[in-house]
Symmetry: C2
Subunit: 304 residues, 2 copies
Amino acid sequence: MPAEKSIRLHDIGEDELITRLTAGLRMDEKVRCGPGDDCAVLYSPQPAWLDLLKTDTVVEGIHFLRGEDSEAVGWKALARPTSDIAAMGGLPSAAVVTIVAPGNLEVATVEGWYRGLQKAAEAFGISVVGGETSSTHSDTAVISVAMTGRVEKDRCVYRCGAQVGDAILVTGRLGGSLASGRHLNFKPRLVEARWLTEHFKIHAMMDLSDGLARDLPRMMKLSERAFCLDEKSLPCHEGISVEAALSDGEDYELLFTLAQDQISGLMAAWEKQFGNEPLLSVIGEVSTGVQTQMSGGWDHFSKS
Amino acid sequence: MPAEKSIRLHDIGEDELITRLTAGLRMDEKVRCGPGDDCAVLYSPQPAWLDLLKTDTVVEGIHFLRGEDSEAVGWKALARPTSDIAAMGGLPSAAVVTIVAPGNLEVATVEGWYRGLQKAAEAFGISVVGGETSSTHSDTAVISVAMTGRVEKDRCVYRCGAQVGDAILVTGRLGGSLASGRHLNFKPRLVEARWLTEHFKIHAMMDLSDGLARDLPRMMKLSERAFCLDEKSLPCHEGISVEAALSDGEDYELLFTLAQDQISGLMAAWEKQFGNEPLLSVIGEVSTGVQTQMSGGWDHFSKS
């Protein structure tokens, strides 16, 4: 281990960095839930509601590539935080957009991003109400989107509520998102999440962004539970191995847990409501103990 | 003029870029005021209040330099959007932070940013409730802060309200912010703005971030007014020329207009409340016509 002062971000990885950074933050009485969940949750002036706040970013070379369809990049930039609002059971409201870009970037590219942002905003009932632009001396563009939302207090779902014996479920199919281009045109599971929280008592929920192998242990760590994963039941995209489905990331599907005795009712009602699009799969069970790791998944800052 | 498809950001500059980007946005009934002011303004569930939303960013090499005191950089990252909330007459509430950084950056630097962010958050009554971290393949770090706030409906001040005959005033002193390091430790004029809107009917207000020479014409363009500036009365920092005070930028002082017949009362009450710290200066008058330009000031993306 190098001396403290020369420790770099890639030495400790994303989760340890976030643990260190959030340790010194202090929440006040406005805050229902600070860092660690899909969104921050704040008390609302309307007692039956909670306010949601989220920021998310796409970085050139990491989340999109120069030359990729700029409208799709803009769509993705707005769809990512929308997916986090969905994962709380919430409704998105307004967004502000920060663009950091080199001066020699084509105006048409940035205009394409904004067309995609607006297209997604209209699709999900969001107003893009402002933004900020800054130049950079680097070649790397960044689009950062902050979003507000709201959710009925009794329908807000956190990551930390998984109960022993719960079934673990996932919407849609997993893996191959980057290679297939799905990461650029995915549809956040807003409608499905609202339907779930309207009809069922979902115990814990999050959206899958870094791959099931990283995200499921995060949920279980916060819930102080362990899990049994039935890898055979993983809904892999066509041609995708179980390993890739676990670790590719950028699926933007819902991962949630629900009491076992609700599952047959859920499956029947889901099929009636949505058919097979998206798929809904039971992939495991919550167990006793605390399980915080599993191999695979995407880590920002790791050297690999 | 080059062909449309090869126009670059530095060919059109920041204001034209923003005009193009925001032209395609559509606001819904939640929105009181979209892009163009210091903050976006949204209707609140509490009829007497409005919700504010702002995003602002600091980019390495533009707003701060590698090796600069990291706590001060974090302070600045949070103080900037706080200054925009102040400029609406508002109270800041919660913030979320996006960090984009290369994997080889020292952890201690990012921890320093967060200490500064938290210090500013406590100073201004804000909770940092979440964030997002992403790696980048570039060497350039970015800190983007989105902030919510609120303001009483009858105390919200827009950029567009300047009236012919109004005096134009500015708090504090201008110029030399980057060279002196003031841009890293400035204190947003929250208290002063709240006091102003409590006691006076401020017609238009904004914070000075790109220099008076750019920001005053922006206010007058939105107000559809022109202005006479009394350059001799500009409150320049010691050793700073009028030209530099007009164009250096990053002052984070309040620029506002008020009916002439209120000025003597304001000046007396201000001195009683604040003494000479900060200074309050009448620097000009709002006139008929529409004045949208003046030489000087900072333009992101311009080649100069």
